[in-house]
């Protein structure tokens, strides 16, 4: 397979939040193996890139106390991290194990757990989830006790987290018994959870036709050994990265990798990222960017530090509010991200970027002279905005826009207005919605 800057851009968008022009050049030269190594293992050059950390009104973020800052705190990581795949997978797990409506310290602790185990084994990750106070509270696992087992967590554990199908109502009820024992308590002003052996039902349960005095750790083993589990989880990972349908042979290969590696997420993701299907249709991408991916990507590829609180409500307007997924099923992805409200917000984001979001972009997006040709205009706008992908016909349309813009003849003023418009169009137009 040829390996070009286009390939690097596709890989970095799908596995992270876009490639800067420098990254695209560098990893096009280094080759696919080096690019994958960087994404999967990092390059040992520190946690963050050279983009300065987020500051709102000149102050560092206060994610625990300032409403909206928790969203910016994570967005900031997506923008600056030198482990973009880890942040992308943290987003995947946030959607997969969707949790909402809990105290911010618990949500941030869960987020950190997802980050630490993002590419670990699924067993380790699920263990973290099972013991995570935020999801225990969200899904009524906390308070589910021997005398009153609650089905909520067990049902979602099988339906949404591990199996999808292949279990019945008896399994739900028996598993609920096995998962009893966590209780709620108030500590340091917030509600959290603890394990109370007296609240746990240590009797014999029958789950998937197997019988034993099962507890939470046994349940983790039972669900991950269920024959439906590996196909379920590799299928979901595949469709997070690739729009092509998963063919049976590839699915079998991913399942084999997953099982042979002891449920290694990194092994499966690495195999998906190397698969030719990820690089299909490089010149007509067809995966809709999730709102946070879009916003983090525009900031990252233009090397823009976060200085506006407004990115948080803008992402909400685009249909995605981090730490507030709409339900335990997470967000609806794909074309479900598209709406007129969301599109309007994407345009507003572009305007914010070139006006108040970045001094560099503000200055550069106006830099134009009356004698610039349409081609110079379009190329300058693409350069300013981090060389985002645009289709050939979009380029032709933008050249047309540049030709027709000035009316009676270009002036310094009309050239600046045109340049500023082109900068906004290339990061908000329909081509910027897909990757």
């Amino acid at each position: 397979m040829a390996w070009t800057e286009q390939h690097v851009r596709r890989l970095f968008w799908r596995a992270g939040f876009g490639a800067t022009p420098q990254e695209a050049r560098h990893y096009a030269r280094m080759g696919q193996a080096a690019a994958l190594r960087f994404l999967l293992d990092g390059d040992g050059q520190g946690e963050f890139s050279d983009i300065p950390p987020a500051r709102i009104h000149g102050q560092p973020l206060d994610p625990v106390n300032e409403p909206g800052h928790e969203v910016l705190w994570w967005l900031d990581r997506m923008v600056r991290s030198r482990r973009p795949l880890v942040e992308k997978m943290t987003l995947f797990w946030h959607d997969h194990f969707a949790t909402a409506n809990q105290d911010t310290p618990l949500m941030l602790a869960q987020n950190q757990m997802f980050r630490e185990r993002a590419l670990d084994t699924f067993l380790r990750l699920l263990e973290g989830v099972m013991h995570d106070p935020a999801i225990q509270l969200y899904l009524s696992l906390a308070g589910s006790r021997k005398t009153a087992p609650n089905e909520n967590f067990a049902r979602e554990l099988m339906e949404l987290f591990t199996l999808g199908s292949g279990y019945d109502e008896t399994d739900v009820r028996e598993m609920s018994r096995a998962l009893t024992g966590w209780r709620k308590r108030r500590a340091n002003g917030i509600t959290t959870t603890y394990w109370d052996p007296n609240a746990h039902d240590d009797g014999v349960k029958t789950i998937f036709g197997q019988t034993g005095p099962y507890g939470p750790d046994d349940v983790i083993v039972l669900v991950t050994q269920h024959p439906a589990h590996a196909p379920f989880i590799v299928g979901k990972l595949w469709s997070f990265f690739v729009t092509e349908p998963l063919d049976p042979a590839t699915q079998a290969a991913l399942v084999a990798t997953y099982r042979a590696s002891g449920s290694s997420i990194k092994a499966v993701v690495g195999q998906i990222l190397a698969h030719p299907a990820l690089y299909a249709r490089l010149h007509s991408p067809d995966m809709i960017k999730a709102p946070v991916v879009h916003v983090a990507g525009v900031l990252r590829t233009t090397q823009t530090p976060i200085t506006l609180r407004r990115y948080s409500p803008l992402m909400t307007a685009m249909g995605q509010r981090l730490f507030r997924p709409p339900s335990v099923a997470g967000w609806d992805w794909g074309t479900a991200w598209l709406s007129t409200n969301a599109m309007q917000a994407r345009v507003e984001l572009a305007g914010a970027l070139v006006s108040v979001g970045s001094k560099t972009l503000r200055v550069r997006s106006k830099r134009a002279a009356a004698d610039w040709t349409p081609r110079e205009h379009v190329d300058a706008a693409l350069e300013t905005m981090g060389r985002p992908w645009i289709a050939h016909d979009t380029r032709a349309a933008l050249l047309g826009v540049a030709r027709d813009f000035h009316g009676s003849g270009p002036t310094a003023e009309s050239a600046q207005a045109l340049q500023r418009l082109l900068c906004q169009l290339v990061v908000s137009g329909p081509d910027a919605v897909v990757h």
């Binding site: 009524s140 308070g143 005398t147 009153a148 609650n150 089905e151 339906e159 999808g164 199908s165 292949g166 399994d171 998937f208 036709g209 269920h226 196909p231 379920f232 979901k236 469709s239 729009t243 349908p245 007509s284 991408p285 067809d286 995966m287 809709i288 307007a317 685009m318 249909g319 709409p326 339900s327 335990v328 099923a329 609806d332 992805w333 074309t335 479900a336 598209l338 709406s339 007129t340 409200n341 969301a342 599109m343 309007q344 345009v347 572009a350 305007g351 289709a391 979009t394 349309a397 826009v401 813009f405 009309s414 207005a417 500023r420 418009l421 906004q424 169009l425 137009g429 329909p430 897909v434």
Partner: protein, 427 residues
């Protein structure tokens, strides 16, 4: 137990990865001038054209908690001993069969209870489908698409738009939300999601009035291209629709947006307020969706959570109805309130209820057939999973709404319409 992975069963992501824009893009960009758009919208805005509003209660609203069956009070108290004291619901004049959760009396004129007492509500207890699937995700998708199969497809009202709608007017189908409801997902015709009509325009920074028309034309240019894949084409289409929505909403001023009645605080009520304003304008709005706030998935803390959710619902819906009536447009608006399933009759001892069958829905409006339109499930005859019996299929209700309210052939919209029964829902 089937332990094998069913490869034919689609995943959530596959299901949702397809959606809008899967078909042809019909509407020609050349026609997208302000005048052309307004003309198309006005042409559709037949003065008496009926409007159907869907209000979704996400999470599975508890029928027995919302509408306690007074006729079956003894059995009810046995099942719900830990949840609801037997005297805590609002009885109704001239109605001995059921009472209402007290929170449903919140709001203008006695809230939902007041609307019921004034003949504005037709209740459908026991609504669901045969062999209900107790997964939120599956059940919600069945209701949203109007079919009980895990197949890809547009929303049930999206299909109505595709058959009867305009190729030019996205405001014909509006989700009052950041996102488009899956109910309104179409295969080819445009739709809209609106949160703030006054901030809906596609506007670029630093253009001023001098360059704004150029910027407008530029957006039109880059959003009028063809794309080879459905998703990329959908992005094109929605970009074009976004500009159309901005232009169509630009003339809607403060006077129209100002409501003649006082709405309560909160996003839900504000969205209903905006919706009433949009319906009152000649915008050709025909179908709309709103999602109710609050926690209906009451596995625990049901007493607290259901009270809060139903109270906010009742305050919002009663203000909305009063607004429509004050504006003189109530006779052409029918509101359909629904949830994806019901809850288990026996409470779960965490102070909550688990997923169950036999849920709750109602039609609301001046032309809704009022009263109790379906049999209340018999609490002594639970099914094999200890759930309520289903007394009406939601597809019967959809078919009836399509025929009686939207005046359409239900068999064109719902695959199961021919085999579904009908209820009288409209007078």
């Amino acid at each position: 137990m089937a332990a094998c992975y069913d490869r034919n069963e689609i995943t959530r992501r596959q299901l949702l990865g397809r959606g809008i824009g899967a078909g042809l893009s019909l509407y020609a960009a050349k026609l997208l001038t302000v005048d052309g758009l307004l003309e198309a919208a006005h042409a559709q805005a037949v003065p008496d054209a009926p409007v159907l509003v869907s209000v979704f209660l996400p999470g599975g609203c508890d029928l027995l908690g919302a509408l306690p069956p007074l006729e079956q009070l003894g059995r009810y108290n046995d099942l719900r001993a830990s949840l609801a004291p037997g005297d805590a619901f609002t009885p109704l004049p001239n109605e001995s069969r059921l009472g209402f959760h007290p929170a449903l009396a919140d709001g203008l004129g006695g809230g939902v209870v007041g609307l019921f007492a004034n003949g504005r509500i037709g209740l459908m207890p026991g609504i669901d489908y045969a062999n209900p699937d107790l997964s939120h995700f599956h059940s919600r998708n069945f209701w949203e698409r109007g079919m009980v199969t895990l197949q890809y497809g547009s929303g049930w009202l999206g299909r109505w738009v595709d058959v009867h709608g305009s190729a030019l007017n996205p405001l014909q189908a509006v989700s009052m939300d950041e996102r488009l409801s899956p109910i309104l997902t179409t295969d080819r015709l445009p739709t809209a999601a609106v949160t703030d009509p006054e901030a809906a325009a596609v506007r670029f920074a630093g253009m001023g009035s001098r360059w704004a028309p150029k910027a407008d034309a530029a957006w039109q240019r880059i959003s009028s291209l063809s794309r080879a894949t459905p998703a990329a084409q959908a992005a094109m289409d929605v970009a074009r629709s976004t500009q159309a929505v901005g232009k169509l909403l630009a003339p809607v001023g403060d006077a129209a947006l100002h409501a003649p009645v006082a709405y309560p605080e909160g996003e839900f009520a504000q969205r209903l307020r905006t919706l009433a304003a949009l319906i009152s304008q000649p915008l050709g709005l025909r179908v709309a969706t709103v999602t109710a706030p609050g926690e209906y998935d009451t596995h625990d803390n049901q007493a607290r959570d259901l009270t809060k959710a139903l109270g906010e619902l009742s305050r919002g819906l009663s203000a909305f109805q009063a607004d429509l009536e004050a504006r003189g447009i109530a006779d052409r608006v029918l509101t359909f309130v629904w949830s994806e399933f019901g809850r288990r009759p026996k409470s779960n001892r965490s102070g909550g209820t688990d997923h169950g069958a036999g849920g709750i829905a109602w039609v609301q409006g001046t032309r809704a057939v009022s009263g109790i339109l379906t049999d209340f499930p018999d609490l002594r005859r639970l099914d094999e999973h200890d759930n309520l019996a289903v007394t009406v299929d939601f597809r019967s209700v959809y078919a009836s709404l399509l025929e009686q309210w939207l005046g359409s052939d239900a068999t064109q919209i719902l695959p199961d319409a021919a085999n579904a029964g009908r209820l009288a829902l409209v007078r």
